[in-house]
């Protein structure tokens, strides 16, 4: 039995933007019938947490070569490109 996909939501200092993005992500994916769990972290913590998740969604630069797909987007804050970002995320989660 495969559980909900795990998404790591990163921003600059793990307050403000990742809180909003995580919620918006959960709601958007729920509308598409996809259950996820999210965890928020600072950009500096991403490398140590990457191993436990299926995907990283971030509003801020993060290191390369984390071994997990990374999507850089402001779409869940500004609304611009939100549908594209959701499609991209769904595609990554299907892999």
């Amino acid at each position: 039995m495969v559980g909900p996909k795990r998404i790591l939501v990163a921003c600059g200092t793990a307050i403000a933007t990742s809180t909003v993005v995580a919620k918006a992500l959960e709601e958007a994916l729920k509308e598409h019938g996809i259950d996820i769990t999210t965890r928020q972290c600072k950009a500096s913590e991403v490398r140590s947490l990457a191993g436990d998740v299926d995907l990283i969604v971030t509003t801020t630069p993060v290191p390369d070569n984390l071994g997990v797909p990374v999507i850089h987007t402001l779409a869940f804050l500004t609304g611009i490109g939100k549908e594209d970002a959701i499609e991209q995320i769904i595609a990554e989660l299907k892999n």
């Binding site: 909003v20 919620k23 850089h72 402001l74 609304g79 611009i80």
Partner: protein, 155 residues
């Protein structure tokens, strides 16, 4: 709409149609208002400027005006609050997701956050404002507190 924003927006911390020479200066101007009104410690101003330099908050929006949401760590905050500036001439801030790019910003929200989860409502409302070009344009046209509150109630 925008109830939490209106609750936390400090009337003394609203600077409309102002000029500033760069992102540090407008953060300083807004930060000073929050300090004088007792919401933040003196350390908040430099901390917010430093954070903006390290982790920029420029956000390109649709609709012709871009925004920035500078903020810093909660240790510099005494009481949560929000200060807002509309800029007569846009100022470059670096793009939050792509910091090598700059964004010409006209609307600045300076956030004094005490606990991220406690202010999630305000943060979500700010995201809502950013996603509503009608509200952003109305804010850019506002000339006084009343017009700011009316703009924030549009949705």
């Amino acid at each position: 709409m925008s109830k939490a924003i209106l609750r936390l927006l400090e009337p003394q911390g609203i600077l409309l149609n102002v000029e500033a020479k760069d992102s540090s200066e407008i953060i300083r101007q807004l930060g000073r208002k929050l300090y004088e009104s007792g919401y933040v410690k003196e350390s908040f101003i430099d901390a917010a400027i430093n954070r903006e330099n390290r982790l920029p908050t420029g956000l390109p929006l649709s609709g012709g005006f871009n925004a920035a949401i500078p903020h810093t760590d909660i240790e510099h905050v005494k009481k949560p609050a929000l200060a807002l500036a509309t800029l007569k001439t846009p100022i470059p801030f670096r793009n939050m997701a792509f910091p090598s790019e700059t964004v010409e910003v006209s609307l600045v929200f300076l956030l004094a956050l005490e606990q991220p989860k406690a202010q999630i409502e305000m943060l979500q409302e700010i995201a809502g404002v950013l996603q509503a070009p009608i509200v952003v344009s109305a804010l850019m046209k506002a000339t006084n507190y009343k017009e700011v509150t009316e703009a924030l109630k549009k949705d």
